[in-house]
Point group: C2
Chain length 408, copies 2
Amino acid sequence: MIRVNPHYAQLQTSYLFADIERRVRAFQQRRPEVDLIRLGIGDVTEPLPQACIEALHKAVDEMATASHFRGYGPEQGYDFLREAIALSDFQARGAQISADEVFVSDGAKCDVGNIQELFAADVRVAISDPVYPVYVDTNVMAGRSGAWLQNHYQNLVYLPCTAATGYAPQLPDKPVDVIYLCSPNNPTGATLTRAQLQQWVDYAAAHKALILFDAAYEAFIRDDALPHSIYEIPGAREVAIEFRSYSKTAGFTGLRCAYTVIPKTCMGWDGDGRPVSLHALWSRRQTTKFNGVSYPVQRAAKAIYSPAGQQQVRTLSDGYLANAQRIRDAFQALGHTCTGGDNSPYIWVHTGSDAWEFFDMLLEKTGVVCTPGAGFGRCGQGHVRISAFNSAAQVDAALQRIRAVLQT
Amino acid sequence: MIRVNPHYAQLQTSYLFADIERRVRAFQQRRPEVDLIRLGIGDVTEPLPQACIEALHKAVDEMATASHFRGYGPEQGYDFLREAIALSDFQARGAQISADEVFVSDGAKCDVGNIQELFAADVRVAISDPVYPVYVDTNVMAGRSGAWLQNHYQNLVYLPCTAATGYAPQLPDKPVDVIYLCSPNNPTGATLTRAQLQQWVDYAAAHKALILFDAAYEAFIRDDALPHSIYEIPGAREVAIEFRSYSKTAGFTGLRCAYTVIPKTCMGWDGDGRPVSLHALWSRRQTTKFNGVSYPVQRAAKAIYSPAGQQQVRTLSDGYLANAQRIRDAFQALGHTCTGGDNSPYIWVHTGSDAWEFFDMLLEKTGVVCTPGAGFGRCGQGHVRISAFNSAAQVDAALQRIRAVLQT
């Protein structure tokens, strides 16, 4: 008999964004005259940078001729892209990462989801609360979570990120083996300073723990004092894996390209306490279960590193950050405490009231869709996430409606 | 302490194609004057069909404008592609598959590798011998194989495919829960008839087992009596998952698009013997760990189903099949028994001698690279796989050299 993976039954069925869509659809049926403005899901809206468009056309033309056609590429990505990444995203910032420590993939969500396959089934996992649901769900599927107890999983270690902690995770009070960190954070928009990251790197070194550092929103950092990569922190090469994405950087959510960095000095441990290279394990995983990223898409990613590409992606993130600033200003002027929005496209608004109630109220009265913080974990209660991913005009229209309704 | 997945240590380190590459490189250094001809790895060489090229350019242009830009697509693929697949690849052949039973992905290797996540850790897995290594390795990584005992894994059930069985797997002599079938087969080129497939479907129904049917080479079937899909077989909707790929069909190895079909009537079972929808589990897996296929690539895949696209991909597979026929004829004329090559791009040549010895001899004397059958399993010993994926001119040159050397 083909028995199924029993751990899937522990997953909480109502996926956040599906829930939101259900409520939005119901609203639209009831109020078809309202023009919805979506500041919920974190999807980009601006077209691809011109440098990427040109690179795509050129690569497509190559695929049309026998002399330039490319079949299977390296599972880890083409050297032309891996070298550009190592040079521009790391070495230029003083982080010692080499091209062969970069694994190109079709999405940070895939990599962040798949990476836990490398670990033993019973390692203890620490996640922030609130948190990007993929960190949790992929560990639930692998049997690491234990049972769902009303509002948390039995075996996960939750690190509360609240106003009291400055929305930063604090070191756990019991030992953990894997720590998911995300900076700039989704959903809170908070960033981790060098000192905070150093604390985590030191913790990981002391406990032989591993940090999974999600830097998908790195391109939105403007504060020069903030680290862009965990490898800017001494000691990180031994204890951290970093995830990056072109989705938000360059509008690649529909094109699909990302990458993961695993330094060759980053070790896990076998049952006898001997070191095992996580770089070698991931390499084996990827060559066995993955066939590389579409060649034209890798060419488009490479184009981001050209002078024109760099300027164009900066313009993109500047635009979203300008939206973010206006959203933050507007909510603060309405008396709400906010995090994020300065080095992040997300604004985490302290609503005080129940998050889903605020979501429903905002939808009902303004036709603006946000994301209820409660969907990201217990500590997300009393907050909503507002996304700056929309056109300036739509953001302004949304803020005008919000001011008209919420101003007292 | 971050302990690693202990099952990776059971993987056999020398991956077949890496081994081949090592020998080829050594040969090239020793004999730089020899023009190598590669009939080893199954990678296409002909450019993309014109219909796909045009669709790619058009989709790239859409991504350059705010009005037509597409961000995140559905994780399961766009309806325009899923509907074309259901209609052309299944309903047109009398197989009752609907669009929402199709999951578009970036590779059959990924899907074939990831699907086993849905199953309990201790289900019994049956594989053909010889076999595509991904079926084996992904189950080793998940802990289902048990220890490696010299030349086989303790807990896998091997189904010998030899001259005596007509290179077809026979029903197992002990009960199994999951059965990997591949037709047209990689590596043997053998195909399964309707009667043979019906036997497997009946077996699966009787044992509540699941068939994982890999039809990546379906486009090469020319014999009208052979089934293209397992869903042409009565009862298959309840017991089978099918994997398809555009890699060999349309030369997408560098572009990346494939799909998996899970009928809504296909069930697994929980620990209490209650049915669980595998469609629902895979949907949850994909929405959690995958973000869909690149939009321009999905448009290219859709173009395959246009009248021009259909004609162009037929021309492609006709060309490779003509190569295959000449390869088969040549080896048969040299006194070797062969399978495949008629409804498959692979020719499985019975060498009699040790497979690696034959590989080395062929490389040394002719500069032609093949794949030693022993790399695919115990029953692959005494065979080599010759791939028809190359230009007609290269294939002819290879055969001329082979005839000159092997003719006695």
